[in-house]
Amino acid sequence: MGVGSLEYLKARLRQQARCVRDRTGRVVAVLESRTVCAIAEETGWSLRDVERTALSQDLVPIRYWRNMGLWGCCGQVRLLESRALVAGLGGLGGLATELLARAGVGELVLVDGDRFEESNLNRQLLATGDTVGRSKAVAAAERVRAINPAVQVIPVVGKVEELGDDLLAGAGVVLDCLDNFPSRYCLQARCRKLRRPLVSAAIGGSMAQVMTVLPGDPGIEALYGPQPPGEGGAELVLGTPPATPAAAASWQAQEAIWLLLGRPPALRRRMLCLDLESGCCEVLSLG
């Protein structure tokens, strides 16, 4: 049995896993990150392949342990084998990327043509004193690698309008984290053409809207008609404060995860509306 063989990898993982009790008293076989890394180095398999192989034998890399309650080992394997594309890496996209990396989505395509500016510091997770002036896509890729080195990251420094069809077509889900109507309309049209599911969020002041658009479903035009209703909306007046994009991006990331897991998303043909000032929260039908 060669060091690089699948059988050897499986045997090493079983050997190195340790049994612990979870908080309900159930015994779980877990693997620490340093063990996963050492086995990847020893066998020549990628970190992602090592994690997938472990999970397929019910051996849980500890970094995913707290995910098990919602989607188990099978779901975690499915996420590791999935690709999500995040369009826009600002207030929405920065947090969505963070959550998808921590969830263990195996491939992330991160798209933004901009650089961080000081005005991003109030809300954008990836904007720090050190990243102001740097490419958002490059900084996001570094962040993902720091969180979860098993995730393959493809940073794209450019606009969604210029994005190659191959990158969109290869995504299991696309997240619209953009900040203007023309780009949002363009992304939705391209997702429709390539039959990709889209999870879209928009914020203005304390209000957020989130919706999931599968191919053939009503989307942004159900709200505003066939043409963009201008460049921007209420956010031009009410601003983009810290908490609102974080709330919306959390819903977006979870919707994306349900889609990648093959489970029904909560917001298909529906729109979640949240207002963090009045406390209003409702789910409206898009028909």
Partner: protein
């Protein structure tokens, strides 16, 4: 007839409801959504999304006693 209205973002200021509870508005029988928006003093061009009883609605849609209306401006920030 009486309808209940909630408004979001830049449209909130036209309703006196700090905690977002629906505001009851008295309208003549046969009134449409557009009539309600005018009566509230909202510039009609600012109302970009309207929902009637949780479903997408057009401004010419007729209202009925007890209807619940949600009004939104355009929103595109990230």
């Amino acid at each position: 007839m009486m309808v209940r209205v909630v408004a979001y973002a830049t449209l909130r200021k036209y309703l006196e409801s700090p905690l977002g509870e629906p505001v009851e508005v008295e309208l003549p029988e046969g009134a449409q959504l557009a009539d309600l928006i005018r009566q509230l003093g909202m510039p009609i061009a600012e109302v970009k999304q309207a929902f009637l009883n949780g479903r997408r609605a057009h401004l010419q849609q007729a209202l009925r006693e007890g209807d619940k209306v949600a009004l939104f401006p355009a929103v595109a920030g990230g």
